[in-house]
């Protein structure tokens, strides 16, 4: 720490140095006097011999090795003083840096949390995911492609073999959201992951308290009525009290004993969904779901598998081996004489191992491309901001020519001054970055909520970690170098004499012109690019809003209901659930203002259920062989959703559990199976090769309605009455009249539900319109953000142009004055100044438009029904950039026309 002491002893050192040199000087003078010179002559000669005393001092300081610290501290102080001395420049610079660095940090924070951060487990880089984790749910068939979901039987049989994996963890692909009562308390929402006994040991996640779930809990169905809590949930509900262990948690009429708490920070392997409780897969019967009656089947495939590679095994080796074993094992499940179809599927099936370092995440697929594009956009905005600040620094460099020249004449080296100027830039960008980080912290949470709105925020840890801070720090330094380097070098390469004489540096004026102009051309080009991108996203969003959903999103409410605490019957008695629903429907229908209401399996954009169907007497074609989306609904579903009937009838109270099975299908399905005749009265069965061929009769055809998303193509859809596919369906749709008070409808509906069965809980209330908006939240966020950044970019470019022209008008004041005096028309003068701007604009457009045309292709996957070369968006972008830059140039140009010739001539 010697240099630190030195730093503080600086003052003493300086005094000593001065004293030492003065002693030398005086001794030399004394010697000269002694040998006969006059005092004055001796002093003069000695001074000549000595040369620059400041230079010697500087060399001495440098040779002590502490110079860099001293000069940095000095430079920083000086930089801060400079910033305070020119508040106008500093505010603009810091503000654009705050926005630029803040936006970059915010987007990077999301990118980091969703795409980059490794799982908080032991050696996450050894983990390999089976499949890519895109699929979710349950499948009973073998896909003729890559496998994504696996059965418990497969996990067991694969684990029996000697493989490249030291262990394999499994987790059910569908996280469960349900209600739990802890130690007899009130029911609360809880998120559960069903896991294999190997889960905690393979991931290497130890218990923080108690024990983790192990193989013995998962050895046989019903073996482990236990649960392990996440640390966050444990803190929330028990405030870290270890007495929580041993408490009983009641979920869907089953009791689980809390045996442990997982280590802090771990919340499962799914990024963007955090588990509160882990329960062994042996208890999965306690969580019934559609298709759940097939539990135990060897092809009941619902799990994600994640394996830990043995040391030294490469993923490629493991992949090859896994595929081989996978085919053997699945072949064994198909029985002694599998059908040709099954064998063909198996031949095409395979397992693709993907790196499991960062876990599984549905968010990752949805946001990966948008995030990368936003990252590119904000990076470009920062670049434009850098160009702007660079330009302002050039201008300041010119103003400070005299200062620099004086300092260099006094013995400062060029390197020293460049460093000092760069430190000033760095101080600026650090101030900007500090504000930017604060901005980003709030903004990234806000962005996430805007991108994925919903009643609960997406559980994603967005506190800046080391990686984010390193990114921002790197960005800050890079930014400072980007905008500071050229001006600093330019400012120090000057000729002394003219610079000292008039304080303006004639040589740097022309170079500044070239640099400043090319920076502005670059800014214009980039802002055109960003405006084109913004235009494309906005137009694509408008197209999405214009999509015919097929249903009427206005005046319809959606209640999501939770029956898990109501102890409803399962199996043969499920029709009682349907009776309950009918009672609720009847009660709500009586509320004044309600037009129609219906329970439904799905409303819009909340999951789906699909399979193939086969009509009697209709051959399979590629078109009708696609999956049909199913829905199970109450009788008034079509009027509640506002889906118009096209042909036939919808189901009603006459279609009972035991009457012939009926279905309403959509137009696409009718057309694909019966291109030339009516589908009414035709019979079909569900499945590729239906068990019950032709058991369902088509009684009606309705208009196509969107199922998953607004941008989906035509899909086949079939609707079945609740009475014939009994169960409790959690979506309750209520349509009210145009004049009705929404708030009142909501509270009266809640009351009606509570009256029928107080154990049925209303989880959320939204409107159908909100559901639609939410389904395009990402697109709308991208459109808004790219629009904002596009305008910001143009605005920054305008500041640049304004600055350049103001400067040139100021410099040419006398010339313009002479022109006015000689009788130049103001229009001519205006044009003279504007001409420069128009020229820059044209060059900028000539670069920017082709740049945009050649790069917007990457946006294709994000645009709905819009070509990336959409002429309208491009024209709007060009027009916006032209208007704003001309407007920016107008102010200085007008100033040129108002010059008073007398005053202008006097200033010279």
């Amino acid at each position: 720490m010697r240099w630190l002491r030195r730093l503080f002893a600086r003052k003493r050192l300086e005094i000593d140095l001065d004293k030492e040199l003065r002693f030398h000087f005086e001794s030399q003078v004394a010697d000269k006097v002694r040998s006969g010179a006059s005092e004055n002559e001796a002093r003069r000669l000695t001074r000549l011999e000595f040369g620059g005393i400041e230079q010697i001092k500087e060399d001495c300081r440098e040779s002590r090795g502490t110079l860099w610290v001293e000069s940095m501290v000095q430079d920083i102080r000086y930089g801060v003083r400079q910033i305070r001395n020119s508040p106008g420049f500093s505010i603009v610079a810091i503000l654009s840096l705050t926005l630029g660095i803040g936006a970059n940090t915010a987007i990077f924070t999301l990118l980091n949390a969703i795409l980059l951060r490794p799982l908080p487990v032991h050696n996450p880089e050894e983990l390999q995911l089976f499949g890519d984790g895109r699929a979710q749910g349950l499948t009973l068939s073998i896909p003729d492609g890559p496998m994504e979901l696996f059965s418990k039987a497969f996990l067991h049989d694969f684990g029996q073999k000697d493989t490249s994996f030291s262990g394999i963890a499994a987790v059910d692909s569908s996280p469960i959201e349900t209600k739990a009562s802890i130690a007899g308390g009130a029911y609360q929402t809880i998120h559960i992951n069903l896991i294999s006994g190997s889960y905690f040991s393979v991931l290497g996640v130890p218990a923080f308290l108690g024990r983790a779930i192990d193989e013995s809990d998962d050895s046989a169905p019903g073996a482990g009525p236990v649960a392990v809590a996440s640390y966050a949930w444990f803190q929330r509900h028990f405030n870290g009290d270890p007495a929580a262990l041993g408490k009983v948690v009641r979920i869907q009429s089953h009791d689980y004993t809390l045996v442990g708490v997982a280590k802090p920070g771990f919340s499962g392997i799914t990024v963007g969904q955090s588990a509160d409780l882990w329960i062994p897969l042996s208890m999965e019967k306690g969580f019934p779901r559609p298709g759940g009656d097939a539990i135990g089947s060897k092809l009941y495939q619902s799990l994600y598998l994640i394996g830990r590679l043995k040391p030294g095994v490469t993923p490629a080796q493991a992949g090859a081996e896994t595929n081989l074993l996978f085919k053997q094992i699945i072949r064994g499940y198909l029985g002694p004489q599998p059908s040709q179809k099954h064998l063909d599927d198996l031949a095409h099936a395979g397992v693709e191992l993907t790196p499991g370092t960062r876990g599984v995440s549905p968010l990752r697929y949805a946001f990966s491309v948008p995030l990368k594009i936003l990252m590119a956009i904000v990076a470009l905005v920062l670049l434009i901001a850098c160009a702007n600040i660079g330009n302002m620094l050039f201008a300041r460099g010119v103003a400070r020519t005299r200062e620099v020249a004086v300092r260099m004449a006094l013995g400062a080296s060029r390197r020293r001054i460049v460093f000092q100027l760069l430190t000033e830039s760095l101080v600026l960008s650090i101030v900007g970055a500090a504000a930017g980080i604060a901005l980003a912290w709030k903004a990234s949470v806000l962005l996430l909520n805007m991108a994925a709105p919903g009643p609960d925020p997406v559980p994603l840890n967005l506190t800046p970690d080391l990686r984010v801070l390193a990114f921002t720090l790197g960005l800050t330094v890079l930014t400072a170098l980007l905008f500071g380097t050229l001006p600093a070098f330019r400012a120090t390469s000057l000729e002394f004499t003219p610079a000292l004489k008039d304080g303006r540096g004639s040589s740097s004026v022309s170079t500044r012109g070239v640099m400043a102009r090319s920076l502005i051309v670059g800014q214009v080009a980039l802002s055109v690019l960003l405006m084109v991108v913004a235009g494309l996203f906005v137009r694509s969003l408008i197209h999405l809003y214009d999509v015919d959903t097929g249903f009427d999103p206005h005046n319809a409410l959606i209640f999501t209901l939770d029956s898990s605490t109501a102890n409803l019957p399962h199996g043969a008695d499920e029709i009682r659930s349907v009776r309950l629903q009918e009672q609720i429907e009847e009660r709500v229908r009586a509320i004044p203002g309600v037009q129609s209401n219906s329970f439904a399996f799905f409303a819009f954009n909340d999951g789906g259920w699909s399979d193939q169907v086969l009509f009697q007497g209709v051959p399979r074609t590629p078109a009708n062989g696609k999956a049909v989306n199913f829905n199970i609904t109450g009788n008034e579903f079509f009027s509640a959703m506002g889906i118009p009937l096209v042909e036939g009838r919808t189901y009603n109270s006459q279609d009972l559990q035991n009457s012939p099975k009926v279905a309403v299908i959509n137009q696409t399905m009718a057309r694909r199976f019966f291109p030339n005749r009516s589908a009414i009265g035709q019979h079909f069965g569900i499945g590729e090769t239906p068990d019950h061929l032709g058991e369902i009769e088509v009684i009606g055809v309705v208009k196509d309605a969107k199922y998953f998303a607004l941008d989906e193509g035509s899909r086949m859809a079939a609707y079945f009455p609740c009475s014939q596919s009994p169960g409790f369906f959690g979506n309750f749709i209520v349509r009210y009249g145009p004049g009705a008070n929404r708030q009142e409808i909501v509270s009266r509906t809640r009351a009606a539900i509570a009256e029928i069965n107080s154990n049925i809980l209303v989880n959320t209330v939204t409107s159908l319109q909100e559901q639609v908006d939410r389904s395009i939240a990402t697109q709308s966020l991208i459109a808004r953000l790219s629009g904002f950044f596009g305008i910001l970019a143009v605005f920054l470019a305008c500041i640049g142009i304004y600055g350049l022209l103001s400067y040139s008008v100021a410099r040419r004041t006398s010339e313009l004055g002479i022109r006015v005096a000689l009788g130049a028309q103001s229009l001519n003068l205006l044009w003279m100044v504007l001409r420069e701007c128009v020229l820059l604009l044209l060059v900028g457009l000539a670069i920017g438009v082709p740049l945009a045309l050649s790069t917007t292709r990457v946006l294709k996957s994000l645009l709905y029904d819009l070509s990336p070369l959409d002429p309208v968006s491009i024209s709007i972008a060009i027009a916006a950039v032209v208007c704003m830059t001309i407007a920016a140039a107008w102010l200085p140009a007008r100033r040129a026309t108002r010059i008073d010739p007398m005053q202008a001539l006097r200033t010279e």
Binding site: D16, K19, E20, L21, F23, H24, E26, S27, Q28, A30, E49, F50, G51, G52, Q55, I56, D59, C60, R61, E62, S63, R64, G65
Partner: protein, 117 residues
């Protein structure tokens, strides 16, 4: 601006060696060092203060020299330099090096002297 520092070009590091040699004779201030070198070289070497003081400070920073303020012959306070133990060892090693180097260089120059003319 810089003045000619000596009538020869001093090889790199030589100035440090000369300074240490002079300081080895006893505590001495900067001005006297310059004069002593000039005298000892019979006016052949003139050390400019622009080279002298940075070298002194460098040697002090490397802890080869220490310095303290003492009254000089004229009564004014001057900064007197002194060799440290480390400096003395360094000086011996460097002097040996220098002698070996000059003898070897001299040997080669003598051997090949005919070739030049």
């Amino acid at each position: 601006m810089k003045k000619v520092e000596s009538r020869f070009d001093l090889p790199q590091g030589t100035l440090d060696l000369l300074i240490m040699r002079v300081v080895a004779l006893g505590p001495i201030h900067g001005y006297a060092i310059a004069q002593r070198i000039q005298q000892m070289s019979r006016e052949a070497l003139q050390v400019h203060q622009g080279s002298l003081y940075p070298a002194l400070h460098r040697l002090e920073y490397k802890k080869l020299l220490t310095a303290d303020w003492q009254p000089s012959e004229t009564g004014r306070e001057a900064k007197f330099y002194e060799l440290t133990v480390k400096g003395r060892a360094h000086l011996e090693a460097e002097t040996d090096n220098w002698k070996r180097l000059t003898s070897v260089v001299g040997l080669i120059l003598r051997e090949t002297a005919e070739g030049i003319s």
